[in-house]
């Protein structure tokens, strides 16, 4: 496959453009997409770049079809992906659920917009519940929540590897701000950085004569008996639990002596990081904890951060009305730390929002 980025280079791009380059660099072979703001430019850049590198694109009739065509393409053994947002994410829960049930290495980039319904086309963190636990399944998915364009690039490359290595559908959860704003990043060829690209393999359309050299493949997602389904789901659950420690990622700063821990994910964690610095400069001992994987969640690491800091208070900040908060609470059930919230559904959060909230809590 033709190299996409020959030498590491600095670039100044929108997040959507970075996403298209990352998918190319990761060796994605085909994108299926349907227009929805704010992810459109991922398609726009992909459709311009893909033919130059022998990659393909299909604009489908809707998001349901985009998700299911990805399911088909990965069954056929090709690195395929889609990108969506908001109501499109809602529609894609059906194919995402099939990918969960059949352990398909589907990759989707989600650029969150405001909700419910068509909400806004701008920004939110309101697709956390949908992306982590949407569909009629058990949330056996891997979800990376990025906070910068560099991370969009890094984690899209990683998402293809994670999906094909573990065969759980994998999501890169961004948002409208990350999608549309420009910022510098370093683009590189993953293999030159020592990142080995996981090889793909087909689930149908295998080589060899059926009956002589191999058995036919029969893939199913519906079962006749309750016990059959039970065994499948329990096996998936056990495998998901087993791989979780090696998949989990998080970032932690200044937690050792913190009196208050500030929790945020995605782009809001940048405000949290700034807030911690400002609060420390003012003599307030604040700490920062950010899950990078929302599924699986770094719950053990968060409990350790609480324990070592001895913090009595926590602030959870998010651009949604408690979706991230619920994930955190279920992970630290039994802890006695006081939990405070800064919920700003569908609007951005900046450092001063967090600083004033922290001050109101500790006073």
């Amino acid at each position: 496959m033709q190299k996409v980025v020959e030498n590491t280079k600095k670039a100044f791009l929108t997040g959507n453009e970075a996403a298209a380059w990352a998918a190319l660099a990761a060796g994605a072979e085909i994108m299926f997409g349907y227009p929805i703001t704010p992810q459109n430019e991922i398609m726009h850049y992909w459709t311009r770049l893909a033919p130059k590198y022998g990659r393909n694109f299909l604009q489908t009739e809707d998001e349901i079809s985009a998700g299911f065509t990805v399911c088909g393409a990965v069954q056929a053994g090709k690195k395929a992906f889609t990108a969506t947002a908001g109501p499109g994410n809602t529609l894609m829960q059906e194919p995402f659920s099939m990918a969960e049930a059949m352990r398909l290495p589907l990759v989707a980039i989600i650029q969150q917009r405001g909700g419910p319904s068509s909400g806004t086309v701008i920004y939110s963190q309101q697709e956390v519940t949908l992306t982590t636990f949407g569909g009629n399944g058990e949330g056996h998915r891997i979800v990376y929540s990025t906070s910068s364009h560099q991370e969009i690039y890094d984690y899209i490359i990683k998402a293809f590897n994670t999906a094909w290595k573990y065969r759980f559908p994998t999501f890169v959860l961004g948002d409208g701000y990350q999608a549309k704003m420009r910022e510098p990043l370093e683009m590189y060829d993953p293999e030159e950085r020592g990142i080995e690209l996981v090889k793909t393999f087909p689930l149908v359309g295998l080589e060899g004569k059926i009956g002589e050299e191999r058995e036919p493949q029969h893939l199913c997602n519906i079962y006749s008996m309750e016990e059959e389904l039970y065994e499948v789901v329990m096996k998936f659950a056990a495998e998901y639990e087993a791989i979780s420690p090696e998949v989990v990622e998080y970032e932690e700063k200044e937690c050792e002596d913190a009196e208050i821990l500030i929790l945020a994910h995605g782009v809001v964690s940048r405000a949290a990081d700034d807030a911690v610095k400002a609060l420390r400069a003012q003599g307030i001992k604040a700490g920062y904890f950010r899950p990078i994987t929302l599924r699986p969640f770094p719950g053990k690491q968060l409990r350790e951060a609480i324990a070592k800091s001895g913090a009595k208070k926590m602030l959870i900040a998010e651009s949604a009305y408690g979706q991230f908060d619920r994930l955190v609470k279920q992970e630290i059930y039994g802890e006695t730390i006081q939990i405070n919230n800064l919920f700003m559904p569908g609007v951005g959060i900046i450092d001063t929002d967090i600083i004033s909230k922290v001050k109101s809590i500790i006073d």
Binding site: S65, F68, G72, E94, I210, L219, C220
Partner: protein
């Protein structure tokens, strides 16, 4: 050459199959099996089945097969074919999956001239879920959701699938309606639909009129009579588009 009674491409460990006695699915799948054998494409086929009675075909063939969601077989087959054009993608679905919940996929795959083959079984009702009205339920026909008979004033007239697919597609598409009551013709149509994909021409679609004695609550004679006298009258059998030559009507 005399053909074996059981197609080579059938997967014997799953036989006898699980369709109801008198159901037409077995006949359609036999025609498909023989067509696969005669075209020698058992190793190149990817067979995809929908949800509904068609789901029972998920391990019917000794061919690579995948099961999808209700109505979503068409996009899964499109994804497979777009990813690996050398494979022969065959979607198998019922009238509910193709004409109702998945109609947007069928319509747009036809318009895009996707190089896949879709075989749609029309038995005028939702069989697996217990005999509800389908887009193909005939006027006056009793189902669980039209217990007093389908009233076109309330629910419209039955969907004529090959007619709408033919209207949407280019001349390189293959479109036909067969029936389980005319086996040789049905097999010819299915073979044409596979050949059309193999030659890279375009979208290939065969609707098959079929029987459902369980939900029709009919005996053998009544079943056959409903198929030949009622259904074939409303749904004309024949080739609507045939890139290989003049379509037969």
């Amino acid at each position: 050459m005399a053909l074996p009674a059981t197609p080579k491409s059938w997967y014997l460990p799953t036989k006898p199959h699980k369709f109801c006695p008198g159901c037409g699915h077995g006949i359609v799948l036999k025609a498909l099996g023989e067509a696969i054998d005669e075209l020698e494409i058992q190793d190149k086929i990817v067979f995809g089945c929908d949800i509904g009675c068609s789901l029972l075909s998920w391990n019917f063939f000794a061919c690579d097969s995948t099961q999808t969601h209700h109505g979503r077989t068409t996009p899964v087959m499109v994804g497979i074919k777009r990813a690996r054009p050398e494979l022969i993608a065959v979607g198998y679905m019922g009238d509910g999956g193709g004409y109702s919940i998945g109609s947007q996929h069928l319509l747009n795959a036809a318009v895009r001239n996707e190089k896949i083959t879709v075989i749609l079984v029309n038995n005028t009702n939702y069989g697996m879920t217990g005999g509800q009205m389908a887009p193909t339920t005939l006027p006056g026909q009793k189902t669980e959701t039209t217990p007093y008979g389908r009233d076109p004033e309330i629910t419209g007239y039955p969907t004529k699938g090959p007619e709408f697919v033919a209207a949407l597609t280019s001349d390189t598409a293959y479109v036909a309606r067969g029936t389980v009551s005319k086996y040789k013709q049905l097999k010819r149509y299915i073979k044409n639909a596979l050949r059309n994909q193999m030659e890279g021409n375009g979208f290939s679609f065969v609707e098959v009129l079929s029987t459902c004695p369980t939900n029709w609550r009919t005996n053998a004679q009544q079943t056959w009579s409903f198929l030949e006298d009622e259904m074939e009258k409303y749904f004309p059998v024949g080739e609507f588009k045939n890139p290989f030559g003049k379509g037969e009507k």
